[in-house]
Symmetry: C2
Subunit: 458 residues, 2 copies
C-alpha cells in the first residue's frame, strides 16, 4: 500500500502539541506499527504520534478531527482482530508514554495510564499485597489502554470477570479533544450513565482511553494445578462444569485435545503428562489464601468420568502442567499461519459444537485441520484452523455460523475489529447495530476514531 502523506498543516499542529521528536514519519520506524502481530491485518500510516499525557492526547485528537484525518489508537498492538493498526491511512496515536501508576494499597485499587502494561499492573498489585484480576499471555506487551478498550479476557475470567469487571472508572478523550474523567474509584456511584463500561469494549471507536482506575483483588498465594484425561469431549466438559460448581477456589479451567497435546509434545520435546493417551484433557487451577489442594483433589479425584489425573502442588510442577496448554499457540503457528477464531458456546452446546466444527472445517479443503483449545470454564473455545490459504475466509463463515446456530458468541474475548465485522449480524440484530451507529455518531460525529472497526456501515 502506498504510504499516504501527512497534510503539512496537521504535521505542524501535531508537532506543536507533542514536540517534533514524537511525530514519527520515518517509514523505517513506522512499519512496526502498521501491521498486527498475526501479520494478517495492517496498512500504511502517514505518521505515528506519541503524546506524553492526557492533555497532549486531547490536542492530537482535536487537531486530527479538525484536519479530517482519522486516527487509530495503539497500545501494545497485541490485538488479534485488526483493530489497532492503520487500514486506510489513519494516523497512529500511540499511548506508550502514558505511564502513570498510582497504587492505593489500603483501598485495593490502582490508577494506571494507558501505556502501562498488564504485567506492570500485576507487579504493582503484588507489591502492595493484592492481585490484579486479569492475566493473559500477552501480559508483557498488552497495555491498560488496550485491554480496557477491548474488554480483554484471559485465563482468570472464571474467577474475576473480564477487564470490564475490574474497571472502576476511566479517563478518556473524545474525538474533538474533550476529556471525560471519572477516576474516583468508588464502587457505589450511581451518578449517571456508565461511561466507563461503555468505553470498555468499544475498541477505540468512541474515545481514546488515557487512564483507568482498576480494582485489585485479594492475593491468592497458594495454588494447585490438576490435569485430568477423559475418554471424550462430552465427559471432559461435563466434569469441568461439575468442578466449577463444587470448588469455589477455581481460577482457571482449560480444555484441550490429544491432537494438540501430541503436537506440543512433539514440537517441544516434552514427555506426555499422563501415562495413558486420552481424547480430551482439562487443566484446572485452584488458588486460595490457604491450601486448596484437598478441596480440588476431592472434586477431581472422586469424579467418576476422569480417566487419569496428575496434580501439581509446587510452582515448578504447576508451570510444567500449564506448559502443555500454553504451548498450543506456538506449536500450531509453526505449522503455518492459522485461521484463529475465538468464540463462546453455551455449556450445553459445547459437546455438539466440538464435534460439528471439525466436520464443518474438514469439508472446506482436504488439508484443513481443526485445533481446539480454550477456557472451558467460560465456554470460550479458540478454534485454530491450519491447511487453508490465509485469504480463504470461508472458514470464518463456516465456524461463526455454526457458533451462532448453537447460541454462542462469535467473539468471546478478542473483539470484532475488522476481522469479524462481516459476521457481527449473526449475534446482533439490525436494531442493535442501529443503536451502535447512533452511539458512535453521538460521541464521534466526524468518524475520526478507528473508522471501520466494530460498527458496521448502515
Amino acid at each position: 500500500m502506498d504510504r499516504p502523506a501527512l497534510p503539512p498543516d496537521l504535521r505542524r499542529a501535531l508537532e506543536a502539541s507533542v514536540g517534533s521528536d514524537h511525530v514519527v514519519v520515518d517509514p523505517d520506524l513506522l512499519v512496526a506499527h502498521e501491521r498486527d502481530w498475526t501479520g494478517r491485518f495492517g496498512g500504511a500510516t502517514p505518521a505515528l504520534v506519541r503524546p506524553a499525557d492526557t492533555a497532549q492526547v486531547a490536542a492530537v485528537l482535536a487537531a486530527c478531527t479538525r484536519a479530517g484525518v482519522a486516527v487509530v489508537p495503539q497500545g501494545g498492538n497485541t490485538g488479534l482482530v485488526g483493530g489497532s493498526v492503520p487500514r486506510r491511512g489513519e494516523v497512529v496515536v500511540h499511548l506508550g508514554r502514558l505511564q502513570r501508576l498510582d497504587v492505593d494499597a489500603h483501598a485495593g485499587r490502582v490508577v494506571a495510564g494507558a501505556g502501562v502494561t498488564v504485567a506492570r499492573v500485576q507487579e504493582a498489585a503484588a507489591a502492595a499485597g493484592w492481585s490484579y484480576g486479569v492475566d493473559l499471555a500477552s501480559r508483557d506487551s498488552a497495555t491498560v489502554g488496550g485491554t480496557v478498550a477491548t474488554n480483554a479476557g484471559g485465563i482468570h475470567v472464571l474467577r474475576h470477570g473480564p477487564t470490564r469487571s475490574q474497571v472502576l472508572g476511566v479517563e478518556a478523550v473524545l474525538a474533538d479533544g474533550r476529556v471525560v474523567s471519572h477516576l474516583g474509584g468508588l464502587v457505589k456511584d450511581n451518578t449517571g450513565y456508565d461511561l466507563a463500561g461503555l468505553v470498555c469494549g468499544s475498541e477505540g471507536t468512541l474515545a481514546v482511553v488515557t487512564a483507568a482506575c482498576l480494582r485489585l483483588v485479594p492475593a491468592l498465594p497458594v495454588r494447585t494445578v490438576a490435569l485430568a484425561g477423559f475418554a471424550d469431549a462430552p465427559r471432559a466438559i461435563r466434569a469441568a462444569g461439575r468442578w466449577r460448581r463444587a470448588v469455589s477456589d477455581l481460577v482457571a479451567e482449560e480444555l484441550f485435545f490429544d491432537d494438540g497435546l501430541s503436537l506440543v509434545c512433539e514440537q517441544f520435546g516434552l514427555p506426555r503428562p499422563l501415562r495413558a493417551t486420552h481424547d480430551a484433557y482439562v487443566l484446572v487451577e485452584a488458588a486460595a489464601a490457604d491450601d486448596p489442594t484437598e478441596r480440588l483433589a476431592e472434586a477431581v479425584g472422586a469424579d467418576p468420568e476422569v480417566g487419569e489425573v496428575a496434580v501439581a502442588t509446587d510452582a515448578g510442577g504447576a508451570e510444567r502442567l500449564w506448559r502443555y496448554r500454553e504451548a498450543h499457540t506456538e506449536a500450531i503457528n509453526a505449522l503455518g499461519p492459522p485461521h484463529k477464531l475465538d468464540v463462546t458456546l453455551p455449556e450445553s452446546a459445547l459437546p455438539a459444537f466440538v464435534r460439528e466444527v471439525r466436520d464443518a472445517v474438514a469439508h472446506l479443503a482436504p488439508d484443513a485441520r481443526t485445533w481446539l483449545f480454550g477456557h472451558v470454564g467460560d465456554g470460550n473455545v479458540h478454534v485454530n484452523v491450519t491447511g487453508l490459504a490465509p485469504e480463504d475466509d470461508r472458514v470464518d463463515g463456516a465456524v461463526l455460523e455454526l457458533v451462532a446456530a448453537h447460541g454462542g458468541s462469535i467473539s468471546a474475548e478478542h473483539g470484532i475489529g475488522v476481522a469479524k465485522l462481516d459476521w457481527l449480524h449473526l449475534n446482533r440484530s439490525p436494531e442493535e447495530l442501529a443503536v451502535f451507529r447512533a452511539v458512535k455518531g453521538a460521541l464521534d460525529p466526524d468518524g475520526t476514531l478507528n473508522p471501520g472497526v466494530l460498527v458496521p456501515p448502515g
Copy 2:
C-alpha cells in the same frame, strides 16, 4: 396539579395496543401511581398503561412518541429520587404484567421479566440451589425492571456488586418502539458496545427495560452475624476496613450510632443489644458454604479497637441483631418526613465526613438533627435529617457539597432522578454531562423517555 388530558388519538392507539382494560384513566386508580412512597415527588398523569409483553411495550412507546407525549416507566415505584413518577403529565407505562421467569439451574442464571419482584427472583434462585446477589429492604415491591434501570445496590454489594454486576444482558425497548434484545447470558461476549451496562443505571431515560438475564451466585447457607460497639466512629470505620480485608466471607458490613440505636430501642421497645453504651456500632455478617463463625470471630474478637461484641450464629439471633440496623428507617420516619441523602465516601474520608456533616446540618436550624447509618463496607452512608421543613433544600446542598469536597459520590445507590439533578455537577464535569446529553439524544431523539430525569438540560 391539574390532570392533563390524554389526546383521543393516542388513547385509541394505546387501547388498540394493550386493550381498553389496560389503559387506566380513572383518577381514583391513578393516584397510587402518581406519587413516590416518600411522598416527596410526584405529579399527575393522564393515563396508566399496562402492556402485557415486550411487543405491547413497543407499540405503546411508538404510539406515545408519534403523539409527542412523554412517558415514565414504572415498576414497584420504590425509587427514592423521583424518577418513577409523573412530574409534568407523562403517561405512566407500568411494567407489572411482564412476569416471565425462566431459571437455568445448570448454568446459574435467570431470565426475568421487568415486572418480576426481587423477592421472586430470590425465591426462584433458592429453589434452584442458587442465590441472587442483590438484596434490599424493598425486595417484595422492587422489580427487575426498576432495579436494573437504577442499578440498585442494597446490603450485599460488598460481596456481589450492584445490580449491574448481575446483569448478563437485557431486553429493552427504545422510544420509537424498536426492541433491542441480548439475553443469551454468555459471560464472555465481546460483540460490541455494552448496551446492557449502559441501560443499567440510566433511570428509564434511554430505553424501557422489559427483561434481563441475571447471573445467580452460589448459595451461602451458613451465616453468622456479629455486632460490635466502639468508643468512636474512627475506630469503628478502621475496624470495618480491617475485617473486610481479613475475612473473605463477609456479605454485609453496616454502621450506626448510639443516637439511632437509642431511638430504635425506645420506639420499638427493644432491649439494648450490648451491656454498655458505645458511640458507634458495626454490624457484620459472614456467610459461606461451611460455618464462617470461627473466621469471623477471630477477626472481630481479636480486634484491639472493639469495645464489646455480640455474636449470633442461629437465624433468630441474627434477625434480632439485624433489627437494630433495619429499624432505623422506620424509627426516623416516625419523627416526621426526613430529608434522605444517600452518599458514598472514600474510606479515608469517612471519619471526617461523619464529624463534619453533623456540624454542617446543625448550622441550618436549631432543631435540625442528623441520623447516620449505612453500608460502611462500601463507604455508603445514608444521611437522614429531621427537624427541617420538607421544602427546605438547603440541607441537600450543604451535605452534597461536603460529600463532593471529600471525593465522594452524591448518589451511592438511589440514583439522580429529579432529586439530585441540581447537584450532579458536583460529581460530573461539563464534558461528562455533554456526553450524557449526546447519548440521550442518540437513543431518544424526541425526548419521550423520562424527561427531566438524570440528564441536566444543556
